[in-house]
């Protein structure tokens, strides 16, 4: 829900980006995101979505143009804890998170005190904040469960609780609905609305999954279609199938291009024949 304010939460001015020695990943990015706005960024894999997030987080610097986050340098906003972030790796449940023996509560508390060195225990205020964050995402009952044992949807809630526990001004989510079913995606959209309204936080949601955006269409103030440059940036109702087809044409070409459909049909028939033979006894 867009709150009137002079300073946008995010401002990209004519941004270009290329990895050293690589082709240009982003060009002509000219986007402003108001404080409290919910922006969904969709685009094909390799379209520059994660790079865009890295620019917001200040983990990469633009080759040309400027990125301003909350009125300052992107890295400063991240380091001072004003951006909550859920990485793609966490969402997908890969990585050490699955192996690591932490409870949901500990994970959220660690999120708040991640940068704190010292011998003292967890601060009382941290415990309270963690409790409030878990409550807001409806994960209080998961507090003492080991994060590695949670389902995809449960883990996602806990990760978001961790990201919002420090009460950030921007919440950045990279592919948050990976491995979440359609019902889960609707619940997720509802969760985003709750967070957005309760905390008035700017939400940047990055996904290559059109279904996730469709499920969250009511919640998103704007959708941005990204493939190297911005192909669309407006309210979700302006989004047409043509724009999406254009956006994902390379991915679709990758799936179907260069493969003769007859040959594909033939192979499939072969597979089915063999399948029948091998499973005939069942």
């Amino acid at each position: 829900m867009i709150a009137p304010t002079d300073e946008p939460a995010l401002a990209f001015e004519n941004v270009r980006f290329a990895y050293p020695g690589g082709r240009e990943v982003l060009r002509g990015i000219d986007v402003r995101v108001g404080a409290g706005e919910v922006l969904a960024v969709i685009g094909p894999n390799g379209g520059g979505k994660t790079t865009l997030l890295k620019l917001v987080l200040g983990l990469e610097s633009p080759s040309a143009g400027t990125v301003r986050v909350l009125g300052g340098e992107p890295g400063d906003a991240r380091r001072s804890g004003r951006i909550g972030y859920v990485s793609q790796l966490q969402s997908s449940g890969d990585g050490a998170l699955r192996r690591f023996p932490v409870s949901s509560r500990q994970l959220v508390e660690l999120g708040i005190e991640a940068r704190r060195f010292g011998f003292a225990g967890i601060a009382k205020e941290t415990r309270e904040r963690a409790h409030r964050a878990l409550e807001l995402v409806g994960a209080t009952r998961l507090a003492d469960r080991c994060v590695g044992s949670l389902s995809g949807g449960e883990r996602q809630r806990v990760l978001i609780a961790r990201a919002i526990a420090s009460e950030p001004e921007i919440l950045a989510l990279d592919e948050p609905t990976v491995g979440v079913d359609v019902a889960g995606q609707a619940a997720f959209a509802e969760l985003l609305r709750t967070i957005n309204e309760s905390l008035n936080v700017t939400i940047l949601l990055v996904s290559h999954d059109v279904r996730a955006i469709a499920a969250g269409a009511d919640v998103c103030d704007r959708v941005m279609c990204l493939r190297e440059t911005v192909h669309f940036h407006d309210a979700p109702r302006g989004l047409t199938p043509d724009i999406l087809a254009h956006l994902f044409e390379h991915e679709l070409a990758g799936v179907f291009g260069g493969v003769h459909m007859h040959a594909l049909d033939g192979e499939r028939a072969d597979c089915e024949d063999r399948h029948d033979e091998t499973t005939g006894g069942d």
Partner: protein, 291 residues
């Protein structure tokens, strides 16, 4: 009981020195082990411990292998440098951690072998009338209690205290990084510092561990306790305690076996740990968390 006679006879002081040295090593490695296992750094332990072999060879040709301090310094520099080099190389484009470790591990063994050959065959770094000032290959590779003295005991206990204090002091950034390095970096955790500090700590622990368990088995101490603890519990502090506890318990039991049967200490300790890990498979089937 032959083992007990060591503690009542003329060798009692030495026997206690050995026990304390092994306890120090096992506690320090038990503390780091959970991080090593969950961060998949087991191979780095291998790479770093083999760097001690290069250190030993270099110390021999430099003529300082005869003194405990000189030997510890040279192997220490090699191990910590390897740990940091792995961290640095592993971050370069086109080289992953596994490649960096593979390259450094074999390079270390080659450097060690060439240096020791020059030392024993051509007399580099030793007086002409002494065949060699370094221990035999078997004790370098698999450990030897005879090599353990008060200096090793003090180093081992000191390192255990230092590692435990540092780990406790930095536990929040360490855990944040261990759980999710990208997220931790995004949250402003100095991940490069945390990772390098952990690898350097691994290097330091390996330096004191090789004197007791030997080069080949030092890295086992960094892997097995954490693996055992992670199979038994999914509570953070229980896992930490179990890791240290199983490591220390295995050190005591392994030493007992070593004293009793005159077996190599490192091998005995590692076999006890491996049996413990085996027991977790028999006693607590944890199909839910296999990955």
């Amino acid at each position: 009981m032959r083992a007990l006679s060591y503690f009542t006879g003329a060798d009692a002081a030495w026997a206690w020195t050995v026990v304390l040295a092994a306890l120090g090593v096992s506690i320090a490695s038990g503390v780091l082990s959970v991080l090593v296992v969950s961060r998949k750094l087991a191979a780095i332990g291998q790479g770093v411990s083999h760097a001690a072999f290069a250190g030993l060879g270099l110390a021999a040709v430099l003529g300082v292998a005869g003194s405990g301090l000189g030997l510890t310094l040279v192997t220490g520099v090699c191990c910590v440098a390897t740990a940091i080099l792995v961290s640095w190389l592993g971050d370069r484009r086109g080289i992953g951690d596994d490649t960096a470790i593979g390259v450094l591990l074999v390079s270390s063994m080659a450097i060690g072998a060439v240096c020791l050959h020059a030392h024993t065959r051509f007399g580099v770094g030793r007086p002409d009338d002494v065949p060699s000032v370094v221990p035999g290959f078997e004790s370098i590779l698999f450990g030897s209690l005879v090599e353990v003295g008060p200096a090793e005991r003090n180093a081992s206990l000191g390192v255990a205290l230092l590692v435990a204090l540092l780990a406790w002091f930095a536990r929040r950034p360490l855990l944040s990084w261990a759980i999710d390095d990208v997220g931790a970096r995004a949250a402003g955790v100095p991940t490069a510092l945390v990772r390098t500090a952990l690898l350097a700590a691994i290097g330091v622990v390996v330096v004191v561990a090789v004197r007791v368990t030997g080069v080949v088995l030092a890295s086992a101490l960094l892997v097995l306790p954490g693996a055992i603890a992670l199979r038994v519990s999914e509570r953070l502090w229980a896992v930490a305690m179990l890791s240290v506890g199983s490591s220390a318990g295995a050190a005591l039991l392994g030493l007992f076996v070593s004293f009793e049967f005159d077996a190599p200490p490192g091998a005995s300790i590692v076999l006890v740990l491996a049996s413990m890990l085996g027991a977790t498979f028999v006693m607590t089937p944890r199909s839910a968390r296999e990955n």
